[in-house]
Subunit: 174 residues, 2 copies
DNA sequence: TAAAACATGTAAGTAGTTACATGATTCC
DNA sequence: GGAATCATGTAACTACTTACATGTTTTA
């Protein structure tokens, strides 16, 4: 999975601008994918050259002009290929766990703060994601599977928060 | 967190070769960090030039020669700086969740297979990590915090497997 | 009046992977 | 005899981020 696959997927739902794609990443994919404008815009240009998508420039009043991208049949085919290929293995990069691993060097107080910080961070992410899900459910624009993927994120956060809280109680008694 | 920080951490425990560092990544960090030889060896060379570590060539019988790296005081200082800086935010990249998100396009059968596959994959990772933990506990070479970080991984896998199994039952009735 | 939202793009740099290249020894 | 383990390294490439660059309108 790279930025191109994901962008193709979003454009297979409907035409979108680079700006809208980025917003979608933040709203739906925040906990398992991200890409910056510095990736999105060059990728769109590259994909247009490869004829996977087409660009339409749209003039707007009171706002900057925008480029709306539409997927082509070749683009759709490419996306199908990605979708039916086996999912690549998940990659987690956790600086929190790395810090914890070296806790002996950092000292008990530092580790306690680390745990407290991680719990707070995860709680924030959890609430944020929950609010997003609520807002999206009101809008009714959510497929069954989109909802599932968000709920998996929620369950994962929840489980981590619970486990970390237990650890804190057991190991540091507070 | 980058490869340099982590390597510095491992060398702060004891002198090691590039090969041993890679093996350690696999044994301890498999679920929250990884780096290939193509990263490790060039990084070691760069760090030696920066005088964060020193190299000692060791001749061996019946095995290739090896380069044993030792951390310098400057390297230790650099590692402390990393360790006391706030932990960078965790990054997850899940192609499984991306596939699930686009389940509507892929179809119900494909999604069911996807879930089944993910459960199997996670179960494998869980058992693997559990075996690693057992072996390491026998060896008694584990600090309290090292054990904690592995247990967090185990709890995370466990929670995901359970949640995915429930999803499968509820949504696909099998 | 300042920040957020809307909107696009580039240049320079960072950080990594994959594949190749080599070669002995030990275990199955 | 073949796979796994031990052991190091490079070249080409991929994929991304960060910072810069610009400018309007709406909202708090």
């Amino acid at each position: 999975m790279n930025a191109q696959d994901v962008i193709l997927g979003l454009l297979s739902e409907q035409p979108r601008t680079g700006y809208e794609i980025k917003r979608h990443f933040e709203q739906f994919f925040s906990f398992f994918f991200d890409a910056s404008y510095g990736t999105i815009y060059p990728t769109l240009i590259k994909m247009e050259k490869a004829e996977l998508i087409t660009k339409e420039a749209v003039r707007q009043e009171g706002k900057p002009d925008k480029n709306v991208y539409t997927i082509t049949p070749a683009g759709r085919q490419r996306f199908e290929r990605y979708l039916h290929a086996p999912a690549a293995k998940e990659v987690l990069r956790s600086d929190f766990l790395m810090h914890l691993y070296f806790g002996q060097t950092a000292g008990e107080e530092a580790v306690k703060d680390l745990l407290l910080g991680e719990i707070e961070a995860k709680r924030g992410l959890y609430e944020d994601l929950q609010r997003k899900l609520e807002r999206l459910e009101e809008g009714k624009a959510l497929t069954r599977y989109q909802k599932m993927s968000i709920q998996i994120g929620l369950a994962q956060y929840r489980a981590t928060i619970d486990h970390l809280n237990e650890l804190l109680k057991e190991e540091f008694g507070s």
